[in-house]
């Protein structure tokens, strides 16, 4: 038998009764590169956990059907044996940081296999060379960036020499440079014959590398084939968003499914000019919030250096930059969680100085990367009222408006902790807006969100800005930010190196390169065509 993975009529229900998968049958051969797509809750992560025995051995639940990994039934084989065949890199690389240093972390898997020390050392060297992480070997894991941690987590499972490498949303928290590097690693592993399975919401990151695409919808396989063939269908019926190049081609009425920039250019040149329209710029009036030459150093490292940014009511500003550029720090300075060592942050013209956080919270709301951290009430309704109560500005009419705006009506009596990630984020935004701030700050609002949630969030933020709130968010998602923002501010090594309309920023290749950004598809096509035109002249 040639297949490394065989799922035969697999149905799974979680311990709490939540449905996981329904009658899933598939087979994966060595050397395949499979991208598994689907909306949140469609069963992608469940499938990954079934392949290496985490389900049912760790999670329990009700599993019927049969899963064979290299001929071994996962129900009868413990996960530590299956880990030699299927390496699984989970969504949160921090929870896979199991040792203090990188070298020790890479060594843990082989050590658990009972290999001798010389072989363990050889595996560590081999994986470090493959992933180009030799300089990190002696580093403490807590000092690594998100992208570096991701590579170490992948290295940790590769050190087990698995035949199949499964990655659950590996691109969610990576900047453009990290994403390029991960793509290169996956390409290399694929060339070496490792079967690769990637679950991902941002299909553009990986679909051109894949040989096969599987779409899961409500726990069932609804499409399975070559990526181009699957994407030629209307994937929105399954809550998916086609990659931007495919969407652009469709919007231009072009009957093609380009997966790479070169393919897109080819079809565009065959079909004339595609409609390309950057969003309008809203001129800045008097700012509601401003960072004035703000500097901050932490642990002997300069995080922000004379950063200068201001936002007017109704503006939507995307703060973009590589991992570690200082985006989160800028936001935390905006609501007083951090105080600048030099310069000043002003809210409606007044420096926040040493004003207490609760006072600043009346004007500035912040939704962090993990909205679950700010939710504590028994129901969504209570959650919405908690902030205004604390600030003694409870206004039920305003809260009703927020419930409508954030579409929270069906969730009001539910526990915020039992909601999906997208719903939790909407509740968190609603809970912050309930206190009637004039500035809303968001940190990586689209990380890990599926297409429907990203679309809903875009609509919501547009509505909020229309109400006169200044919206400022940090993101790596240039595609999403391009469609939404009136302005981009580019952070590089703690400095705001550029600010302007997304189109104006995209027209500056030096800035894009310096900040290691990925151009939105529309702009990438535009720039590439301009280059070609210049070449022809």
């Amino acid at each position: 038998m040639n297949q490394v993975v065989v799922c035969d009529e697999v149905t799974y229900q979680y311990r709490d009764g939540a449905p996981g998968l329904q009658r899933v049958s598939l087979a994966i051969e060595p050397g395949e590169f499979v991208v598994v797509a689907g909306a949140s809750g469609s069963g992608k992560s469940t499938l990954c956990r079934l392949l290496n025995g985490l389900i049912p051995h760790l999670h329990g639940g009700n599993l019927t059907g049969r899963i064979l990994i290299e001929g071994r039934d996962t129900r009868l084989t413990p996960p530590y044996v299956l880990s030699r065949s299927v390496g699984l890199a989970l969504q949160n690389p921090e929870a896979q940081s199991l040792a203090t240093t990188v070298a020790r972390d890479l060594a843990l898997g082989p050590a658990c296999q009972g290999l001798d020390r010389a072989t363990i050392a050889a595996r560590v060297r081999e994986v470090a060379a493959l992933l180009e992480i030799e300089p990190l070997l002696d580093r403490q894991l807590v000092t690594l960036s998100g992208g570096e941690l991701q590579r170490v987590a992948i290295g940790g499972v590769l050190a087990l020499h698995p035949k199949v490498l499964a990655l659950d949303e590996p691109f969610a928290f990576l900047d453009a440079a990290g994403a390029v590097r991960l793509r290169e690693t996956l390409r290399l592993l694929h060339q070496r014959g490792v079967a690769i399975i990637v679950t991902e919401h941002r299909l553009a990151e990986v679909v051109d590398l894949a040989t096969r695409m599987i779409v899961l919808h409500e726990g069932q396989i609804v499409a399975d084939g070559a990526p181009r063939a699957v994407l030629a269908r209307d994937v929105s019926q399954w809550g998916l968003e086609a990659p931007p190049l495919v969407r652009l081609a469709r919007a231009a009425g072009i009957d093609a499914t380009p997966l790479t920039l070169d393919e897109a250019l080819e079809v565009v040149s065959l079909n004339g000019d595609a409609p390309l329209s950057p969003p309008d710029d809203i001129p800045a009036t008097s700012p509601v919030i401003s960072w004035e030459d703000v500097s901050l150093a932490r642990d002997h490292r300069t995080v922000l250096r004379q950063a200068r940014l201001s936002a007017a009511a109704g503006e939507v500003i995307g703060v973009l930059g590589a991992n570690g550029a200082g985006k989160t720090t800028l936001l935390k300075l905006g609501n007083g969680l951090l105080r600048p060592q030099r310069g000043a942050v002003r809210i409606q013209g007044q420096a926040i100085g040493r004003r207490p956080l609760w006072e600043i919270a009346r004007s500035v709301g912040l939704v962090g990367q993990h909205p679950g951290h700010m939710l504590f009430a028994p129901t969504v309704q209570d959650e919405l009222e908690a902030g205004p109560r604390a600030l003694q500005r409870l206004d039920r009419a305003w809260i009703s408006h927020i419930i409508d705006q954030c579409r929270l009506e069906p969730l009001l009596r539910r526990s915020p902790h039992r909601l999906s990630a997208g719903e939790q984020r909407r509740v968190a935004i609603g809970a912050v807006l309930a206190s009637q701030p004039s500035v809303l700050l968001l940190d990586e609002p689209t990380a890990g969100q599926d297409a429907l949630s990203r679309y809903a969030l875009r609509t919501l933020l547009t509505d909020i800005a229309r109400d006169g709130v200044a919206v400022i968010f940090a993101t790596h998602d240039t595609e999403w930010a391009y469609a939404l923002c009136t302005r981009w501010a580019i952070l590089n090594a703690g400095m705001i190196v550029a600010s302007g309309t997304p189109a104006a920023i995209c027209a500056q290749p030096a800035i894009i390169e310096q900040a290691r950004l990925r151009l939105p598809a529309e702009e990438a096509i535009r720039r590439q065509r301009e280059r070609h035109a210049v070449d022809r002249v």
Partner: protein
């Protein structure tokens, strides 16, 4: 070779326990001050002074309360003794944990024949405690950003609000950690210690000297 690797973690653990007993049992104030001086030299020599200061800054209210209660019943000498003892115990902990990487301790326990899971339990407790601190800070920041106050008397009323998201985050993290461990084959009955640990004369000397000092101070 630095002090981290010069001694076997088991010897360091034993010396730490004996040293802690010495701090608790030394009643004479002058001897306690000398003992604290030895610890201070160790802290400075090993570059862990700043870490001790950071911990002490957090513990300062507890330390003052401790001294106040002791002083109330036993006078100023008892108050000074109580404060010094607590500071010295923290110092001993900082020296031990600062010079003993959790995996070293885990490896040494494995080498002693302790089951892999049991060794990781201790190793994990040391390794992930700082991470829990980070999680607690993130939850606090998220709540404070909404205008929930935790200063002064507000801490009593609003403090419990931190518990729900913190507990849920810890449980979620523990679940993810369990998955992370399983994906690395942690359930395997055999795990190779990454370093060979053999007790030698240096380890004996470390325990012996600590024991001797303890007897001298306590006597």
């Amino acid at each position: 070779m630095n002090i981290e690797l010069r001694f076997d973690p088991r010897a360091k653990a034993l010396a730490y326990l004996i040293g802690s007993a010495a701090i608790i049992l030394t009643l004479d104030l002058i001897r306690l001050a000398v003992l604290s001086g030895v610890l201070a030299a160790l802290l400075i020599g090993s570059g862990l002074g700043r870490r001790w200061l950071r911990v002490m800054r957090v513990l300062l209210p507890t330390l003052l309360l401790f001294a106040l209660v002791a002083g109330w019943s036993g006078g100023y000498e008892a108050a000074i003794g109580a404060a010094l003892r607590l500071a010295a115990l923290v110092g001993a902990g900082v020296v031990f944990f600062g010079l003993t990487p959790p995996e070293e301790l885990g490896d040494a326990l494995l080498a002693s024949g302790i089951p892999s899971q049991m060794a990781f339990l201790l190793e994990g407790a040391l390794r992930f405690t700082p991470m829990m601190g980070t999680l607690a800070r993130e939850v606090y920041e998220a709540q404070a950003s909404r205008g929930i106050r935790f200063d002064g008397r507000h801490l009593l009323r609003n403090g419990p609000l931190l518990l729900t998201p913190l507990l849920l985050s810890v449980v979620r993290f523990a679940d993810e950690l369990a998955e992370g461990l399983e994906t690395r084959g942690f359930g395997s009955p055999q795990r190779t210690p990454l370093r060979e640990h053999r007790l030698n004369w240096r380890d004996g000397a470390l325990v012996g000297v600590t024991l001797l000092l303890t007897i001298l101070f306590v006597w």
